[in-house]
Symmetry: C2
Subunit: 382 residues, 2 copies
Amino acid sequence: MKSFSYYNPTRIEFGEKKEELIGNIIAGYGVKKVLVVYGSERINKDGLFKTVADSLTANGITFYELGGVQSNPVLSKVYEGIELAKKYNVEAVLAVGGGSVLDSVKAIATGACYDGDVWDFFTFKAAATKALLIFDIITLAATGSEMNNFAVVTNEQTKEKFSLINPANYPKVSIINPVLQATVTKEYLTYSAADIFAHCLDMYFSASYLPGYIAGYVENILTTVIRTTNILIENPADYEARGEFAWAATQALNFTTFCGVENNRFDTHFIEHTLSAEYNIAHGAGLSIVVPAWLKYQKNSMPERFERFATNVFSTEGADAGIEALVAWYKKIGTPVTLQEGNIPESDIPMLVEKLRAVASMWGGEELYTREMIQAILGLCR
Amino acid sequence: MKSFSYYNPTRIEFGEKKEELIGNIIAGYGVKKVLVVYGSERINKDGLFKTVADSLTANGITFYELGGVQSNPVLSKVYEGIELAKKYNVEAVLAVGGGSVLDSVKAIATGACYDGDVWDFFTFKAAATKALLIFDIITLAATGSEMNNFAVVTNEQTKEKFSLINPANYPKVSIINPVLQATVTKEYLTYSAADIFAHCLDMYFSASYLPGYIAGYVENILTTVIRTTNILIENPADYEARGEFAWAATQALNFTTFCGVENNRFDTHFIEHTLSAEYNIAHGAGLSIVVPAWLKYQKNSMPERFERFATNVFSTEGADAGIEALVAWYKKIGTPVTLQEGNIPESDIPMLVEKLRAVASMWGGEELYTREMIQAILGLCR
C-alpha cells in the first residue's frame, strides 16, 4: 500500500422511499432556500417531483427550479443555474436526476460562490474551495458522483468536456433508492455498466502499483456489475440487482479504489470526454469503444495483471482471452465497440489526436499522452 | 440491498512517517491542549513518542500524558483519563497505540463531556452524543476502531466487558503507518488476524440477508488477511503485506461490510467479551476459540452461504470442509481453538451461561441468546 489520504464525508441514505426524507434532511442543515435541478420528464413519471416538492414545503423550505439538464451536461445550463442561485440567494442546491444533473449541480454550487467565470475552475485558471451545500436524489447509477467531489461539464461553444474538482463538492447527503432507478432505459443501463467498468479499469490497468486487496476489491465490483446488468436486462424491476448495481456504481468512484494505489490515471475517460464533446455520444457508449482499444494497446506492459483480470473477472485464461471476453460482454449487452458503431468517422482521427493533445497540454500531460499513443489507441477502436 | 444509512467522516492518513504530521493536523482543528494516551513501552522503542511530542510542541500544542493502558482496557484507567481531561480542560484526546488505547480514548473523550459516570453509556442508562475531538496513531491493526465509533472497555470491578457507541466518537483523523505496526509480536499479529476474521464472520454468518456484493467484499478482506498474515509470520518487516493487513482491518469494521445487510449480529464478540472479562485472555484468542463452535452450531441454517465461504475463502468444498479449513488455519498461525487451549475450565460453562444471559437481558437480547444456544456453543468449544 502506497501512502494516501482518504476522507469522504458524504452521508448515504439508501433504500426505498428515502426521497420522502429530503425536506427533513435539508432542513437539518438550517437551509431555508434551495435550487432544485433536474433533467428529463422521468422525474414526473413516477411522482418523484411531487414527493420532493411536498417534502421541501412541509419542512418550510422555499425552492426554485431549473429543469432540462441533458446527458453530457452543458455549461450554458450551469450558467443559468448560477444566475438563479445568486438571484434567489439559495443556501443549497438539490439534484434530482442522474450523474449529469448532479455534475451540473456541483458546478452551480461552486460557481455561485465565485465572482468570476466558473469555467475558470475547469481550465485550471482558478482553484475551487467553496460551494453551496449539495444534496441529491440519484435516479441513475453510473458516475459515482453521489459520493465524490468530481463534476464533468461540456462547454458546448468550444466543444470541450472538462472536469471540476472541489473539496467542498462532496454532497452532504445522497439518496439512493433503487426503485427510482428502475425506469432507466435498457440502453442507459448498459451505458452505465460500461461507465462503472471504465472507472474500475482505468485504475486497474494504469496504476504502477496495485495492492492485492484493491485488485480483489475492484474485481468484486466488476463481477457484481456483470451479474446484475445481466439480470436487469431481463428484469428491470429486480430490486435486489438494481440495488447492488447502484451500490457498485457508488463504490467504483468514491475513491476507495484508489487507496494505496500508485500513479493511476483516467486514460479512457480522458480520451472519451473529447469523443462525447465532439459527437455528443453517450459517455458509456464512448467508453465501451475506447476501453478495448486501450487494453490492447498496453496489454504487454503488465501481463500478470491482465492474466489476473481474465481469471477473476471472466473466468478465462490469458490477457487476450480476458479482453475478448470483455468485448463479447459489451456486444452481448449491446454497447458499441468500434468508432464505426459509434458513428465516428475514422477519418476524424487526426483531428481528434490534435484536440486530445491540446487538452493534455492544458495540465501538463503532453509527455504522458503522446501523439503516437493517442493515435495508436484510436486506431485500435475497430 | 436492504435500506441503510452510511456516514463515516473519519479522515485517514495512511503511510510512512505520517505520524510526523500529527501536531499540524491537530492544530488545524484549533486545538491548544491535548491529552495523549498510550499503553506499553513499545511507544518509546521506535522513537514514536518523541516524534509525537516534538510535532505537538512545534505546533504550539500543550499536551498531558496518560500511559499504561493495557489489552482489554479497564474502566479505572478511563476514569483517570476523564479526570485529567477535565482538570486540564483539553479540547482533544490523542491515542498512540492499538485498539485498546483508542477505545480508552473514545471513552475518555465521551466521559469528559458528561457529569455522570461514563459507565452509564455502556449499560444503556444514558445515550452518548458528545465527545472531545479524537485523534489517533494506530500501532496495531485489528479492532477497526480507527474508523468507527465503537469502544469496548472492561469494568474490572464487575468483570463486565461492554461497548460504547457514540456518534461523536469517530476519530477526526486516524494515522495508519504500517511501519509502526511491524513491531507487534507474532502472537498479537495472529490474535489481530483472528479479530478481523471475527468482525467479518459475525456479519457474514448472522445476516438474514447478505447481498452478493457484500459477500464478495468480505471474502476479499478475509483472503487478504490470510495471505498477509502468512507472509508477516515469516517476515514481520514486509511493508506491503503489513499495509494490506492494516487496511483490511480498517475495512472490516468501518461499517462498509454492513451496507445493505439485514439483521447482522455480533454473536462471537458477544460471547468472547465475557470470556476475556472473566479470564483476561486476549480478545483474538478468545474469538478463535468461539468462532469454530459458533459456525458448527449454525451451519445447517444457511447451507449456501457456508458453501460459498468454503469455496471463495478456502478453495475447498462444502460447509464442513470450510470450517475445518478455518480451524486448520487458526492452528497453523497458532491461535487457540478450544476452551482448554485458552485455559478456561469447561466446568465454568454453567457460570458463563448465566453471565451471558445477564448481559443479554440488559439490552433485551434474552430471546436471541437463549440459555440453550449459549450452552450449545460453549459446549462445542473443544
